[in-house]
């Protein structure tokens, strides 16, 4: 089943918002990512088809924006900020803790496919550092204990 088959109504709505098809490339990529979990090669070609762009151009958009994933991610994507203000509040040590807890390096996915850990640039919540997004949802003022609890909870929910 292609994206077109599965989400044709959403695709129509997105395309209708823009004067030219190519302008819809980002929202369509989000849609594809939602559907497939990441921007797979296949998804990129489908979006290229929908926007009448060359797949190379769509690939470039995916490559430029860090919030498009080019590889399969875990069910939960945990993105910890390690930019300067957060770093001053101990983000580096916090990231190490996360790595130990999950048993993977930043940038990797746990073998059970549950979690992907990533470090990211400032996500505009420096006042409540260290901070992370879990599937785009903010988690503020994180502590090692709080993180462990969160991970265990997320594990239990599935």
């Amino acid at each position: 089943m292609t994206l077109k088959d599965k989400r044709s109504a959403d695709i129509e709505i997105i395309l209708s918002k823009y004067p030219t098809k190519r302008s819809a490339v980002m929202p369509l990529l989000y849609l594809a990512q939602e559907e497939y979990g990441y921007c797979s090669d296949e998804a990129i070609r489908e979006v290229a088809d929908l926007t009448a762009l060359d797949p190379t151009e769509v690939k470039s958009v995916v490559g430029f924006y860090t919030m498009f994933f080019e590889e399969k991610t875990g069910q939960y994507v945990i993105e910890v900020c390690d930019d300067l203000p957060c770093a001053l509040k101990g983000a580096d040590a916090f990231v190490h803790h996360c790595e130990r807890k999950l048993g993977v390096r930043a940038g990797q996915t746990t073998p059970d496919g549950k979690f992907t850990l990533r470090t990211v640039m400032c996500i505009a919540a420096c006042d409540r550092a260290p901070v992370a997004q879990v599937n785009r949802e903010y988690r503020y003022s994180l502590t090692p204990d709080g993180f462990d609890k969160m991970v265990d909870e997320l594990k239990g929910t599935v």
Partner: protein, 748 residues
Amino acid sequence: MADLINLTIDGIPVAVPRGMVIVDAAKKIDNDIPVFCYHPKLKPVGMCRMCLVDVGTPKIDPATKQVVRTEDGKPVIAWMPKLQTACTTPVSEGMAVRTNTKQVLDARNNVLEFLLTSHPLDCPICDKGGECPLQNLTLAHGPGLSRFEYEAKQHNAKHVPLGDLIFLDRERCIQCSRCIRFQDDVADDHVLQFHDRGRHMEIVTFSDPPFDSYFGGNTTDICPVGALTTADFRFKARPWELDSTPSVCTHCPVGCNISLNTRLETRTGGHEIKRVMPRQNEQVNEIWTCDKGRFVHHFTRAEDRLTHPLVRDARGKLVESTWEAALQLVADKARGARVSGVIGDRIANEDAHLFGSLFSDVLKDGAVAMSPAIPAAYADIARAYGVGKDTDFKQLGKGDTILVVNGDLEESAPVWFLRLRQAVVDRGAKLVIAHDRSSKMHRYASRIVTYELGMAAHWASEQTTELSAELKSARNVLIVFGDEKLSAEGARSLARSLANILIESGHAGKANSGLLPLYPHANTQGVFDMLPATTVTTGKVDVAWLVGVGNAADVPQADFTVVQELFLTDIANNADVVLPALSFAERDGSFTSGDRRVQRFYRALPGLGQGKPDWWIIQEVAKRLGATWQYHGTSEVFAQMAQHNPYYAGLSYETLSQAEPQWPPVGRADLYYGGTAYDNSGGIGSRYAAPAEQSGFNSSLEPVVAPPVDMEALQHLPHTLYQDGELIRRSKVLSGHVRAQRKEAETA
């Protein structure tokens, strides 16, 4: 037009057209501001910061809005607080530019130091080494030492195939985006892009098939480092070992100027073409070629080239012979006989002229024709109403109409496609297309007409009045046309209708207007111009004499067949005498392009085996038939021809070899734009006037009745760039594409 802006660069006054950027203005006074991302043929992006200069403008008094002046009346310059990129800053009146301050010199030094932090510096094994802008500019402006940690250097993949023709070395790429911009803005094949950002930014292709473009080779020329290389040339030679000989591409009516880069090979004991590079001619190909022109050269040293005269022996086998015996045999057979001559349209003017003279002056009973035959049916109309002598594609734009009828510009004349596309997309010319199928050019058309297969001539004859009325108000009208799916009669009818449109709309015989025929090869017009009008003999003749016809479909039936060829083609294999000819790279000569530009090409390689140029072979037989010809070289043949052929009157090898300086300067004198082969030393050629622009020519309408659709012509495959042929089949890098296009054409 002359809207000139005055500025000073390092105190030197210079006046340049409005809109020009500082880099180009400086070029006018030989001040070479170093650049990497800027290229005069591409839109500026200001990405690399190599071109930073100090810029100021006259200070304006806010109260009086007047220029503030010093006591001696000079305007006070308000210098901008930071350096500016000279490649994106347009000139303005009274501007002052400084390119030699300490701040500017430091900036250059720093940008280079930064670019080199992740550069592999593997110049000793880099194909670009010796003609590399990064190498040149580092020597001129760069630091001798780097402050960066050696260990922090990035290492990336070095042999990334972007397609089967182009390879990428990721470490060498300096992210200037010239290749991307060429593919996007010039070729319109969006097959290259950046991926990721910052220090991880790299060139990728994700197209299917990858890097699929007829123009990809050009990216390797404009890449300012050795990041992009061709499958043909990579690791084959160093630029400084190469000899460069001016030549002309033989594959299509554009007549791109090229340089043949050759080297003496100890391994094979002879000279070889190592690469084909574009040679700058702003009137013809600017600085581009298509990949066919670049990658088909291997046939010149193919192992199966004919090297000896062959004569059929008593047992019916073709066996090696001597020139003397073979020539004498041909002369004996031709003496007093009915001879039918056919000459291919890749053959040079000089050869065709002598072949024509043989039939008009030497042989008693004979007729001569060009192969393929269909273009010969309309080449006189294409010539008479061809583009005016002073036509310059760069001047086509707003107010002009380009009409493309019954042909695919990109497949048939790739570099015309590039140039006319720019006239439409960048400069606003109106494009109207009439064809039986779609083509890449259709993307830019403001009006598209689709007719049934084979109906081009009908369409044109029916539309003449209407189109002429519509085109009356156009500033210029350029009509590009092809002969696809048409018989000779049909093609002639089409050409005639199109000529009528030019006459009726008032554009016949004018510069920047006229017919532009999509001929099959480089010298269709030239060969046609050289041949006397003879009535074609039908039925069986005594002798068929075939010069460079390849595998032409319709060769005359004869008791005795002579073939002049490079290879033992099927036709040659059935001949009685086969005479080994020399390729265009092994001899001098001239071609006349589809827009009637006469251009010289020069000998780049020694002849292979005992091969001889076609003109020599023809002369030797003519001598044995009593002709008193004494030509020692093509220049003498050309001079004799120009005396008798009214179109070529006044042209000579001297006039054709004149090379005016080209703008923008990208050649040897300027190493920033890469490449040592751009320099046009061999001449830019000369276009002869179209008869319709000469006084006394009677441009009058002729009624046209389109002939019925020709069933046989409907079977002709549409022209594709990589269609199978004797030469392209021997390309070491394109043969896969030939197979693919053959498959495509057969299943279409």
